[in-house]
Point group: D2
């Protein structure tokens, strides 16, 4: 299971006065793709947190190719990057769901996540996540 | 101490494609006015929460008179409404800080807050807050 | 066509440190319900704006009954309220999509929208919207 | 004029259920630092846009060192990076305004901005901005 697609429609609130989605909202789209992907893999965030694993972002990058507009349907493609004992990387591509001629890349990027316990101390990622390395 | 003024400048991210501040952001301005007011009164939220008092919003109303624009300086005027044992009301008026001819009302509204303990059970507001009734 | 349902899953970004969805995000859920409803009725916002009709919120109210949690699936039920020449009201109910025993009301509210032209002058709502009165 | 400081207090709405500021909000802090810096330099965004220059983000990076908490006072230090004819880079460092023992680095990053005209075509940055290269 290497890639996962999440489909979402752009909300009015996500636009800014330039007439397209504000750049900080793509970071939220990345998160949406990642959390849906992890739920699909069998590790919903809400359960991880109940088990005492918190996954804060330690690094985040986005490159913007073309604007997302209100009411656009977009596809967030999330894939696994490098998995270490104490951190995991996810890569993202956001496409416009074009009606006829295929898909247009709107943005891409990555996030790196660490792993903390409830007290905020760095701990190893849950084993079921670390095992994805061999998948 | 009946009224409190908070000054803030509109952020680009708060606008939407209509070219003014998105209506949901006024609710955030209300919160900003309220939390600054409570800090000023000697009850910062962060301390209340450490002491085990959580104040969720139970009701919220806003009336919009004129648009806030990016880079506008606005003044949030927060005042106390009715204080009951288990809930407290705050009223808000948001003005444009006009340079010459006084202030223009942009929006007004209120929020009602309840009081919960860490387990989410309804409890009485901290006594120091209930005592504001007699102030 | 009197009611419309929109289903959405709570995003991590929508939570706050109280551990549930921030109250201002319900206003965004209302908007999501309303814009999906209008698209369904054949009046997508993006087309209205292209035709020179802008629908700013003039009033907004929400009552919160129970917290929405991260990863909850919620159902936004949007219905038409009073339609005047220059304003339209929408009513909202947000339910938790419970697996077994039916639906739990999380929040309800309304918004009133005005109608402006590109220059920001109050104008009549498009006729196709005003005609909904008789629907 | 190489660096500019913007001071701001963390808003409740900016936190998430992990108990600290959501990572996407640092991107908004970067924007706040940048727009205040540009206003200080004499090029407020609102004027640039009136003159027909739109500056969308083409790239964005953030590295997170320590969490920002609600009610923390933070200092956003914005500085100019490379300036080309059609793009400009800004660098950011976000510090906790510590009371006694100096400042703690919470996050750092950069954004690259392009320049578009009203029709969305790439154009040169306004001359007054390009001239900053020689400042």
């Amino acid at each position: 299971m290497e890639k996962f697609e999440t489909r979402v429609r752009v909300r009015y609130e996500e636009t800014d006065q330039m007439g397209a989605v504000h750049h900080s909202k793509y970071i939220v789209y990345f998160e949406l793709g990642r959390t849906e992907f992890m739920r699909h893999l069998g590790f919903p965030y809400s359960e991880l947190e109940k088990d005492g694993f918190f996954l804060p972002i330690t690094e985040c990058y986005a490159k913007y190719h073309a604007p997302c507009k209100f009411e656009d349907e977009i596809i967030i493609v999330t894939s696994l990057g490098e998995i270490k004992n104490v951190r995991i990387k996810f890569n993202y591509k956001i496409f416009l769901k074009a009606d006829i001629d295929g898909q247009k890349l709107l943005a891409e990027g990555y996030t790196v996540l660490g792993c903390l316990n409830k007290e905020g101390k760095i701990i190893k990622l849950p084993e079921k996540i670390r095992r994805l390395r061999n998948a």
